[in-house]
């Protein structure tokens, strides 16, 4: 198994570019992917990263305790800006959680075979991002111990939640999304878990993998049921990709606050979420393929495809930014016009222009093939997008709230160290979960990858198969 450089990004209309490099048979694929879980010692980078990220995750936990015992005043939230970092972080993380299911479900339904190399960890990323996202609305409320009142639990007072509130829709939307994503991820993982079970050398491992593999034996019937289930889940998950962030955007769009009350929000949020999600996938994929030697599976072609999506969705987001201005002007409403002019020129102009640079300007580099195939450029751009997408939510939440109708009530939001600590801490939680996932679960969907190799379809011609020797 050689790892010589192969350029699979060339477009040759007569043949399809291979999606798996340097592999002729299934065994070597299994070997290479399972090595990530089976090698006795993970790379040093793993230890360093998990040390840092688990420290940050603990910081997150400690800060949550501090928050619960002291009061939400430990944050910078204030009178006009009642929602600050926690909600910004929530929307940010929910957005990150979009790419996974999009790759898994929509690309699956569209038969985009290149998805197989990245779908597993994109889905994992989704789950972990939604975990982070779900934490924030739970702890941001004033009386955390009563968060369960958000759920429609029958009670002696016959008190139901208020179904007109977008926050309640959020509870359902995010809850459904999380459940379906988790199921989708888990169901897709069953054949691979069985592989790990079969190869396990320790008893504990065998039992653990065996438990989750649910007795998978690889029989025809299993495969048949499995593929049906996977297809159905994909169909179920597809509308959710669109609905979750649409519903999250209703938190803003349904209110009457200038800068929030905008009909463009649902598609704009979805595009933004896909944009941010793909950027995060690339952010994670680049180091992961380096450290665990997965370059044969997550090839430059994969990265390039994702970069193209980033360019597309980034431009959609840019269009939305412009359209907001147009509509504000077109509305003729003093408050509406002010909300947007003020975003670009007011006290938070720095955040607005940082966002515009990161989300609209930076991805334009991807018009150039050379740049979108360059790892450093790509990494720079996706880091920009990560920052920019966080600031997009900051701009929407904070600038709109800080200066609304009555000039007397305006204020300027300043985060506290707890705000910043929690933002960093949530990254810690996310990365910790992700690093544990890489170590203990199959990072690449082996069964699916094998299905798109030419060997899986010996009678076909011109499929993704023959390697193009560069």
């Amino acid at each position: 198994m050689s790892t010589q450089a192969v350029d699979n990004t060339l477009e040759d209309p007569t043949r399809r570019a291979p999606l798996v490099l340097n592999h002729d048979d299934f065994t070597s694929v299994t070997e290479e992917i399972c090595r990530v879980n089976e090698s006795p010692r993970p790379p040093k980078a793993w230890y360093v990263s998990i040390a840092i990220s688990s420290m940050l995750a603990s910081l997150f936990g400690v800060l949550i305790l501090y928050l619960v015992f002291t009061g939400v005043g430990v944050w910078g939230n204030m009178n006009p800006v009642m929602w600050g970092f926690p909600i910004v972080n929530f929307v940010f993380w929910v957005g990150i959680g979009h790419a996974g299911t999009l790759i898994s479900a929509i690309l699956f339904l569209f038969r985009q075979k290149w998805r197989t190399a990245i779908n597993r960890f994109a889905e994992a990323m989704t789950i972990f991002a939604v975990v982070c996202a779900g934490t924030f609305p739970g702890i941001h409320i004033g009386r955390v111990w009563l968060a369960y009142w958000l759920f429609p639990i029958p009670n002696q007072m016959e008190m139901w939640p208020q179904f007109r509130s977008p926050l309640l829709w959020d509870v359902f939307a995010v809850g459904t999304y999380f459940t379906v994503s988790l199921l989708f991820w888990y169901v897709g993982m069953i054949p691979d878990l069985a592989t790990l079970r079969d190869r396990a050398c320790g008893k504990i491992k065998a039992i653990a993998y065996g438990f989750f593999a649910m007795g998978w034996r690889g029989s025809m019937r299993h495969w048949h049921r499995y593929e049906r289930a996977y297809l159905l889940l994909a169909a179920l998950a597809t509308p959710l990709v669109l609905s979750v962030h649409s519903v999250v955007s209703f938190d803003f769009a349904v209110s009457q606050l200038p800068g929030w009350h905008t009909t463009i929000f649902p598609p704009y949020f979805v595009a933004g979420a896909i944009f941010g999600g793909f950027a995060m996938v690339v952010t994670l994929a680049v180091p992961a393929r380096q450290w665990w030697g997965l370059k044969n599976f997550i090839t430059m072609r994969h990265l390039e495809n994702m970069n193209k999506i980033i360019l597309l969705t980034g431009s959609m987001v840019g269009y939305a930014y412009l359209m907001e201005f147009f509509i504000a002007w077109y509305s003729g409403s003093l408050y509406e016009i002010f909300a947007f002019v003020n975003r670009a020129t007011g006290q938070y102009a720095w955040a607005y222009w940082l966002m515009a640079f990161c989300n609209v300007a930076a991805p334009q580099l991807f018009w150039f093939k050379r740049l979108r195939r360059s790892i450093p450029v790509m990494f720079f751009v996706v880091m920009c997008v990560n920052v920019g997408m966080w600031f997009e939510r900051f701009v929407i939440v904070v600038t709109s709230l800080s200066q609304d109708y009555l000039g007397s009530s305006w204020g300027y939001f300043t985060p506290t160290w707890v705000d910043i600590g929690m933002l960093v801490g949530s990254f810690g939680l996310f990365l910790t979960l992700f690093l544990l996932f890489i170590r203990y679960l199959p990072v690449i969907a082996m069964a699916e990858v094998k299905a798109i190799m030419p060997q899986a379809d010996p009678h076909a011609h011109g499929g993704h198969g023959e390697e193009v020797k560069a």
Binding site: G71, G73, N77, N79, H140, W149, S165, L167, L406, S409
Partner: protein
């Protein structure tokens, strides 16, 4: 609790309770206390004084309806077998009392909940306030429960008792009596109390060689001296603003810090209603340095240095009195420069106005101004025929001025002729003129005795500190500004066994009448000429003695001193006209600093600057630009050989080179509230320059200081988009017109904004909006009446258990006030730009919850914690609230307040600058399991005390609504059946006016009206139909229940700069007479 098994009293068959069996100390106390409090003490025959006290209290209980005069919370809960007459547990009772401040009494009604005074309101029978109370009186109830109050007598700083003091004093003062008071001096606060005056006479009789001095840092020496110049005797000026058509203020803040401000506000507002057929209203011209409340309400305001007010007065006098000598001011080159073209135009307009309204105009000069300005004022009022119509006088006792008096005392102390100094209140170490160096003077007296609420700056240097009783704890009396007599009646026994000035004087004069009550009653008897029990009880009940005000006089003004006065004035002006001017001004919320440890008053924003928790150097934007300073920068101000360093606050509308220094900050007393609040400007104030002085220097120094405001959290420069935007949207939010426009277009307010559409996609007539309930509550706020004093804020705070949050939290915009008074400056436009140096007008707008029928907050709450009741109230269910804060985000008026912390359980922490991790200081210290015990006593039991994490907001005082409804329902239930059946609508009517929310109750301008919109005859329904009625942000279709009446301004005809001329009001795209847009429903 001790173990029950260990039962010592064997053989006893029955126990009264398990506690008796357990024989706990609590139980013993309870046994001891089973009979009414104090009864057990009766058995102690040793204490004669105590016996008298209890007898006094019993008398009060028996005859005077003083059932509330006890401290109930210390008792165990013992249900009554027979309820005492006149006492319904849980039903609050109001008692009339009064509070003295700066030598004038405020007549009040104090609410007592089961023996705890909880709220102060104005006495509605009293002519001065007519039910209103100012912020000082309202907040004084918090002082009663101030945990920092001094709790005992102190001897050289060590705890002592009143008994020890009287033992010591009887010896010491016996010696003084022998020497007929040689070496004895008394320093008292200004007081109008007839009893104190009587005690003073006794004191002086007993100690004829003693001297009596009076000092108030905020005094009206200039006014009194001016009256002396004019009439040859001290007279007090009384204004009748209700009948004034033209009012000229010469540096006088008669609507702000003035002992009679409540009457002035009421009359002023009444004179502006423009409800008569001809739609007339008064016109106010203000010439002042500091931007005061009075200036904010002016139709024409000119920012003039306090020194230059002399020129303004002379300008008026020259024209009105036609005196040639006065013209020399104008002829003087420097004076000519000071009288700028703009100012001259304003002056001419004012003079024309005055001359056109002879007999219905009035000139008022401020206490800051020298006597000569007052003389000119008296002369002009007389010449214009205003005396007897809009101005009247009452004779005052002849005594030296305050500055002179304390100066004399200082001289005697300096000489060493005073060995014993008795200070009845006051805090001279803090607020005496700085050149006297009062601390070093105190050391020269052998014995110093200080009666004070706190162990404050002065007490700390004194040999004896006597803890003073709060006015709600003690008997006293006083006269209002107009001279009406009121008795100060206690509602509670002294919490810390404090003494009043009367009681201290009684002890020092060995008066047989030792209790405040007997002293006051003696005075009363002397005053009404003999025992008159019914009249005494009537006076106590009403809170005033009818007809006790001295008759108004119209003494003739002596013109003889005019020339001399003019010369003196000119000399004074020349001396103080150069350089930077410093102006010492009373603090609108801290007064002279005595309220600095009152959390409500620290947190209620200054009406103009909106600054809380601080005093700062106020500079105009032009001056700030000249000095290169911005808000929060530190400056050094030098005056003569003194200098101080303080932070800058930028205040538009000040004269360019005038520096306003509000007094009352920088207390050195370590109270938990006042520590670190503001800067002490008394240190610049000398006996020569008590009010203002020229020739000061001001320089920027390194460093900055954080200031916390409730509005404009960061300076909003009108040059920025945000600043311009506020100016642009003001016409729609705060609707106003000139009187002239109002006459032609009475419904102007409805056409100020173009309501695009009010059609909704949805079915909106939900049951509560259709008005399913019996009532439809609504509120109307008359912007034309409101002067912006902020009394409503404190009233609401007291009524609704609203916590203070501290400077750090205000800085973060987390103040909890349910009602706020928005203040906007309207800047003049110059070449398409707003000029921050030219304030055209001020808009003040109280904002409460609008109780929208189509409430945006209700739609978004996920747990239905804020809902509508059937009477149309937008109610907040604290128990249900989980604190998502979405409601506040969706509230266009931003009236919702969130409990970020358990504010009731935290001390009002102050920011510790320069600390990165502020965990302890910010959030943990002084946090206790329950609110402070003392503070708890103030709580209104009818209002929930909110915990952290819940949202709250104005409820329209729902507890008051409920109370009125219960009364109405009870009355209905007692009607005969036939009577009930006769009622067709089956609606239990609540009389209009039976419900007044706390804000409306205390509003001196009567700007806030509350009532039932369903009752077509109610005042509120009438106001809703009023042509000036409008709904703020009506384009959002929230259907607010709180509406406003638009403001009217009355600029002089043809004036160059109408304070609010029509052109300035037109928002972009809105014509004056634009039709309401399609679908408008009216």
């Amino acid at each position: 609790m001790p173990s029950l098994n260990d039962s010592k009293p064997t053989g006893q068959a029955y126990w009264r309770s398990l506690d008796h069996l357990a024989d706990t100390p609590e139980f013993r106390v309870f046994m001891h206390r089973e009979f009414p409090a104090g009864a057990s003490e009766l058995l102690d025959s040793a204490d004669r004084r105590h016996f008298l006290k209890i007898m006094g209290a019993s008398m009060a209980l028996a005859g005077l309806g003083m059932a509330g005069c006890r401290r109930w919370p210390q008792e165990q809960i013992v249900p009554y077998a027979n309820r005492p007459a006149g006492r319904d547990p849980g039903v609050p009772v109001q008692y009339a009392t009064c509070m003295e401040l700066g030598g004038a009494a405020r007549a009040l009604l104090a609410t007592s909940h089961d023996g705890r005074p909880t709220k102060i309101e104005g006495n509605d029978r009293h002519p001065a306030g007519r039910g209103a109370a100012d912020i000082f009186a309202q907040a004084s109830v918090l002082d009663l429960y101030d945990p920092d109050r001094s709790r005992s007598v102190l001897r050289e700083g060590k705890k002592a008792t009143w008994r020890e003091f009287t033992d010591w004093a009887s010896g010491h003062f016996a010696g003084l009596r022998d020497s007929r008071g040689h070496g004895l001096a008394v320093l008292a606060e200004a007081s109008s109390s007839p009893s104190l005056r009587a005690m003073r006479r006794r004191f002086v009789e007993l100690y004829p060689r003693a001297t009596w001095h009076e000092y108030e840092p905020l005094n009206n020496d200039g006014e009194v001296e001016g009256a002396r110049l004019a009439f040859g005797a001290p007279y007090r000026t009384h204004l009748d603003l209700a009948h004034a058509a033209v009012i000229i203020s010469l540096d006088a803040d008669f609507l702000g810090v003035h002992p009679d401000a409540l009457r002035h506000i009421g009359d002023f507002a009444a004179g502006r209603r423009a409800d008569d057929a001809a739609r007339t209203m008064n016109r106010l011209h203000v010439f002042e340095s500091d931007f005061t409340l009075t200036g904010a309400n002016a139709d024409h305001r000119s920012a003039v240095r306090s020194a230059d007010i002399a020129l303004v007065a002379a300008f008026f006098a020259a024209r009105i009195l036609g005196d040639e000598a006065l013209k020399r001011f104008e002829e003087d080159a420097a004076a000519g420069r000071a009288l700028t073209t703009e100012l001259r135009r304003d002056l001419e307009a004012a003079v024309t106005d005055l001359q056109a309204h002879r007999g219905s105009g009035v000139l008022v000069a401020g206490p800051r101004q020298p006597a000569q300005v007052h003389l000119l004022m008296h002369l002009m009022n007389e010449a214009l025929g205003n005396v007897g119509r809009t101005v009247a006088y009452t004779r005052q006792p002849d005594q030296p001025g305050h500055a002179e008096s304390i100066h004399a005392l200082a001289g005697r102390l300096e000489e060493g002729t005073v060995q014993t100094l008795v200070m009845l209140g006051g805090n001279p170490v803090y607020n005496a003129p700085a050149d006297l160096r009062f601390v070093s003077l105190l050391e020269k007296a052998a014995v110093t005795i200080h009666l004070s609420d706190y162990n404050d700056e002065t007490s700390q240097w004194c040999d004896w500190h006597i803890n003073r009783a709060h006015y709600l704890e003690t008997w006293g009396d006083g006269r209002a500004w107009d001279g009406t007599y009121s008795v100060c009646q206690p509602l509670i026994e002294p919490l810390f066994q404090g003494k009043s000035a009367l009681e201290l004087l009684a002890a020092l004069t060995d008066d047989g009448f030792a209790t405040g009550q007997s002293i006051v009653q003696r005075t009363f008897t002397d005053m009404v000429g003999g025992e008159n029990g019914p009249l005494w009880r009537q006076t106590l009940h009403d809170g005033l003695l009818a007809g006790s005000a001295p008759p108004k006089e119209t003494p003739a003004v002596d013109r003889g001193g005019l020339h001399q006065a003019t010369q003196a004035l000119f000399a004074r002006w020349s001396a103080s006209s150069g350089g930077w001017e410093v102006v010492f001004s009373p603090h609108p919320t801290l007064y002279d600093g005595r309220f600095a440890n009152n959390g409500w008053l620290q947190e209620v924003p200054d009406p103009m600057t909106k600054l809380t928790w601080d005093t700062a150097v106020l500079l105009s934007p032009a001056a700030a630009e000249e000095l290169g300073v911005s808000r929060g920068d530190m400056v050094r101000i030098g005056l003569a050989d003194r200098s101080i360093e303080a932070a800058v606050m930028i205040q538009p509308g000040l004269p360019a080179r005038s520096v306003i220094l509000p007094l009352g900050g920088g207390r050195a007393f370590e109270g938990r509230i006042c520590t670190g609040a503001g800067f002490d400007f008394y240190r610049l104030r000398t006996s020569e320059m008590m009010s203002f002085a020229g020739g000061a220097t001001i320089t920027k120094i390194p460093g900055s200081y954080e200031l916390a405001t409730t509005q404009d959290h960061h300076t909003i420069d009108v040059e920025t988009v945000a600043g311009r935007s506020i100016q642009d949207r003001l016409p729609a939010l705060f609707r106003e017109a000139d009187l002239e426009e109002y006459r032609h277009h009475p419904d102007f307010a409805r056409h100020r904004t173009h309501v695009v559409h009010r059609l909704s996609l949805f079915e909106e007539d939900l049951p509560h909006q259709a008005g399913e309930g019996d009532y439809a509550w609504g509120m109307s706020i008359d912007l034309n009446a409101c002067v912006g004093c902020g009394a409503c804020i404190v009233a609401c705070q007291a009524e609704n258990n609203i916590p203070i949050v501290g400077k750090d939290q205000v800085k973060r915009g987390r103040e909890m006030h349910w009602i706020r008074v928005d203040r906007y400056f309207k800047f003049a436009e110059r070449s398409d730009k707003y000029d921050p140096n030219r304030v055209q007008a001020v808009a003040v707008q109280p904002v409460v919850c609008m109780h929208c029928q189509n409430a945006p907050c209700e739609q978004v709450c996920p747990v239905a914690a804020t809902v509508h009741d059937k009477d149309g109230l937008n109610v907040m269910v604290y128990n249900r609230c989980i604190g998502t804060r979405y409601c506040s985000n969706n509230c266009p008026y931003k009236v919702r307040r969130f409990n970020y912390f358990d504010y009731h359980r935290r001390g009002p922490l102050r920011a510790q600058p320069g600390r990165l991790l502020q965990v302890e200081d910010e959030y943990f210290t002084e946090k206790s399991a329950t609110p402070d015990e003392l503070k708890q006593l103030q709580f209104n039991p009818e209002v929930t005390v909110r915990m952290r994490g819940v949202m709250e907001k104005c409820t329209y005082c729902v507890q008051r609504i409920s109370r009125a409804r219960i009364v109405a329902k009870n009355a209905y239930a007692q009607l005969p059946q036939a009577e009930k059946e006769k009622r067709k609508d089956r609606r239990i009517a609540i009389e209009d006016g039976a419900i007044t929310p706390a804000c409306a109750q205390t509003c001196p301008a009567r700007a806030i009206v509350f009532g039932d919109l369903k009752d077509p005859d109610s005042r509120i329904a009438g106001l809703r139909r009023h042509e000036r009625s409008y709904e703020m942000l009506e384009e959002l279709n929230v259907k607010a229940r709180t509406t406003y009446l638009a403001k009217l301004r009355n600029p002089a005809p043809g004036s160059w700069d109408g304070a609010g001329n029509g052109a300035a009001h037109e928002a972009p795209a809105h014509g004056n007479n634009s039709q309401d847009g399609g679908g408008a429903e009216h």
